[in-house]
């Protein structure tokens, strides 16, 4: 069997259902063997970045490893942003690139580049296949590494001569890497100590992040919260891990988080961090961050612990296992005065906005989307619309919210929505996008139309690169350098040109009927271009470098 065929057979053994790719010279034998592969569907995308994000979206929506495939040189470099996006958010992914034949490597051959060198700092691990003998072992290892421990992207660079070289096919039954043994079970002594601290705390809070979702620990988290009655804030990456509709939910923390969550950090005497990494967008100024609290930090990655804040009780391991162990020792917390304070903040500082004349307010659009599509899986891009989508939609389900949190990659969401829809055909997929980010990977409307995917694509169009414009308004004397997007095309017409349904909304009373119309379209994507109030800002806001208690609730 030739190397390319061994790759395809190995991918099947790894239970891959979809592979998102773009064709090209150094990967032709692989595409050739995918042409009639059974049980493994090739999804041709229109740009390698889109292919990588689609694989990523599939992984986020399902928890399975996403797979992307590109050719050497420019095909491979186009994957880079997608690989880095997955890396920052610890998304399991395998990225396969064709490489020039081994006898040309290093000679500056046509479409040659050192993709392993380029991707080394942005992937969990990488492999070069120079012989067809190695293929099956490499694939098995790559999937194991991508999916276990702290997940992440793995790059496989596959030389073209090895793709056509013949070898016997043998897929390993198990993988054992001597140098890779992630800790998954929490230390019982540490768990005991943590529970003692939790039971003694007067002002405890849970700070849960994307690690809870990655570990599929959402049920254990809900169990822990309901058993103890400790209030909880869930980060942007963790939304969906705990229902935002629950009375204990303080909503998202950080730069554009709720005042309740941010004030709670400042006042708490105990912070229980679960699969969260004290990112700068959450903590604000570290010198001022949650100074009165002790910290328990549960994380599968030891290097996350103690990186940004000093931790009193570190627990290394898988969040699901550790929460299960903690639940055995959990008891109702006696924290009524603290809860009174929390309830007061929740009541006093909800996310809110002011109607501006007869403009369509972006927050209103999100509220209406939530009202009509409460169970949808929501993907968001990066910018103001992302924050509003996090604030005004209340996520209640595991893996209901997908976004590029760590790298903040504009252009992520449209291809990610395609991958997510293929992974979750049972769900409605709502993509909340921005006018700046939508156009960054707009070409991926093509495969969405071709596959007749019923994606609901809602553009919050303020004719600006809105988040940057907001910073310019607040910190750069309104010098709107390179953010004016009034030369945007008519996105509704553009969508029609792609063969999707396009709707343009300019008035508040048109919002709901348009969404209702979108709800009914089942045979392909619909794009609604919501022309919203141009200079609306995202609040609350903790300015960069300020402490969480210095939050700006709104402009006077």
């Amino acid at each position: 069997m030739r190397g390319a065929k061994i790759l395809v057979e190995s991918l099947k053994r790894a239970e891959v259902k979809y592979i998102f790719g773009v064709q090209g010279g150094a990967a032709m034998p692989i595409f050739d063997d995918l042409y009639d592969a059974e049980g493994l569907k090739l999804i041709p995308m229109r740009h390698e970045q889109g292919a990588a994000h689609a694989a990523d979206g599939y992984a986020r929506a399902t928890g399975k490893v996403g797979v992307t495939l590109a050719t050497s040189g420019p095909g491979a470099t186009n994957l880079v942003t997608g690989i880095a996006t997955a890396h920052m958010d610890s998304i399991p992914m395998v990225a396969i690139t064709g490489q020039v034949p081994t006898y040309l490597m290093g000679n500056d051959a046509f479409q040659e580049c050192d993709i392993l060198g380029i991707t080394r700092p942005i992937c969990k691990h990488s492999y070069l296949i120079k012989s067809s003998d190695e293929v099956a072992d490499v694939v098995a290892e790559a999937f194991h590494v991508a999916a276990t421990g702290k997940p992440g992207p793995v790059v496989i660079d596959f030389a073209k001569d090895a793709q056509i070289q013949e070898s016997a096919f043998y897929y390993p039954e198990s993988v054992n890497i001597r140098s890779y043994n992630p800790t998954v079970v929490g230390h019982p002594g540490q768990i005991k100590k943590a529970m003692d601290l939790i039971n003694r705390a007067e002002k405890p809070m849970i700070y849960a992040g994307g690690g809870v979702t990655l570990a599929n620990a959402h049920e254990e988290l809900r169990h822990f919260t309901s058993k103890t009655g400790i209030p909880i804030t869930v980060t942007l990456m963790g939304l969906g891990a705990f229902p935002e509709t629950d009375p204990l939910a303080m909503r998202m923390p950080g730069m554009h988080g709720s005042c309740c969550a941010n004030y709670a950090f400042s006042d708490a005497d105990l912070v229980i961090a679960i699969g969260a990494r004290f990112d700068d967008r959450v903590t604000g100024n570290l010198e001022r961050f949650s100074q009165k609290s002790k910290k328990i930090h549960i994380d599968i990655d030891p290097s996350s612990i103690g990186k940004n804040v000093t931790v009193d009780i570190p627990i290394v391991g898988d969040a699901k296992n550790i929460l299960r162990d903690m639940n055995k020792l959990a008891q109702p917390a006696q924290i009524e005065p603290w809860m009174q304070q929390i309830r007061e903040w929740q009541k006093k500082y909800p996310f809110e906005y002011r109607q501006n004349g007869d403009r369509v307010m972006p927050q209103y659009v999100i509220e209406q989307v939530y009202d009509l599509f409460p169970d949808a899986v929501v993907t968001a891009d990066v910018g103001q619309h992302q924050m509003w989508a996090a604030q005004y939609f209340k996520y209640t389900e595991h893996r209901q919210w997908l976004n590029s949190g760590g790298l903040g990659t504009m252009g992520f969401s449209l291809p990610a929505t395609i991958g997510a829809q293929l992974g979750r055909p049972d769900k409605t997929l709502v993509n909340i996008n921005g006018d700046g980010s939508f156009i960054m990977n707009i070409q991926e409307l093509v495969p969405a139309v071709t596959m007749k995917l019923p994606l609901k694509i809602f553009i919050i169009n303020n004719m600006y690169l809105g988040m940057v414009r907001q910073w310019q308004e607040m910190f750069f004397q309104k010098r709107y350098s390179a953010v004016d997007y009034h030369d945007n095309p008519d996105f509704a017409k553009l969508a029609e040109g792609f063969g999707a349904t396009g709707i343009r909304v300019e008035r508040p009373e048109e919002v709901r009927p348009a969404l209702e119309q979108a709800q009914k379209i089942e045979d392909g994507p619909v794009v609604i271009d919501f022309i919203v109030d141009e200079e609306e800002n995202v609040f609350p806001m903790v300015p960069s470098g300020a402490g969480l208690d210095e939050v700006i609730r709104g402009l006077a």
Binding site: L116, G117, R120, P121, K124, H125, S126, L128, V145, K150, I177, R178, S179, Y180, D301, P302, S303, G306, K307
Partner: protein
């Protein structure tokens, strides 16, 4: 005279002897803004395993991060900070010194005192091999300086724990 940095640490790192591992380790240091003061690598008695001795410096929290980040690399088998343990450290230097016949005896005497070795000699220069810790090598170089040092090549530090070793590649 260069004094060893007070926050200097010697890390003993066992890695898979594979393509790209050195680049991963070096890239980790540069990408995360850590310092490498010296690095030496060689195969162990097991051809599948290499040993790296990395000398770095930084506050305790930084060193802890370096160890943790090294451990995150799939090809890293084991990381051990030898600084606080009883260990032996050595460096090897080759030094080429200007030396005419009138100075040769004098220089050979210095070589002898430092228990160094002469490995090459020409009418105009002398090449010396010296092994020792950083202080000894520095002291020899100070002694040779007045004669004119033409070139120095050093290995970087290697180190090993004193006494028994628990595993084969400990």
């Amino acid at each position: 005279m260069a004094i060893q940095k007070s926050d200097s640490h010697i890390l003993s790192v066992l890695v898979n002897n594979r393509f790209g591992v050195l680049a991963r380790v070096a890239g980790l240091f540069s990408g995360r803004n850590f310092n490498i003061d010296s690095l030496s690598v060689a195969e162990t008695d097991d051809p599948e395993v290499s040993h790296m001795t990395i000398v770095t410096h930084g506050e305790a929290q930084i060193i802890e991060q370096i160890e943790k980040q090294l451990n995150r690399l799939i090809d890293v088998i084991k990381v051990r900070d030898l600084t606080a343990e009883h260990h032996v450290e050595r460096e090897l230097a080759l030094v080429k010194v200007d030396c005419d016949t009138s100075e040769r005896a004098e220089i050979l005497q210095i070589v002898d005192i430092f228990r160094a070795k002469t490995v090459d000699v020409t009418p105009t220069n002398l090449t010396i091999e010296v092994t020792g810790d950083e202080g000894k090598i520095r002291a020899l170089l100070d002694m040779l300086h007045p004669y004119g040092i033409k070139q120095i090549v050093k290995t970087g530090k290697i180190a090993i724990i004193r006494g028994e070793i628990r595993t084969r590649n400990g």
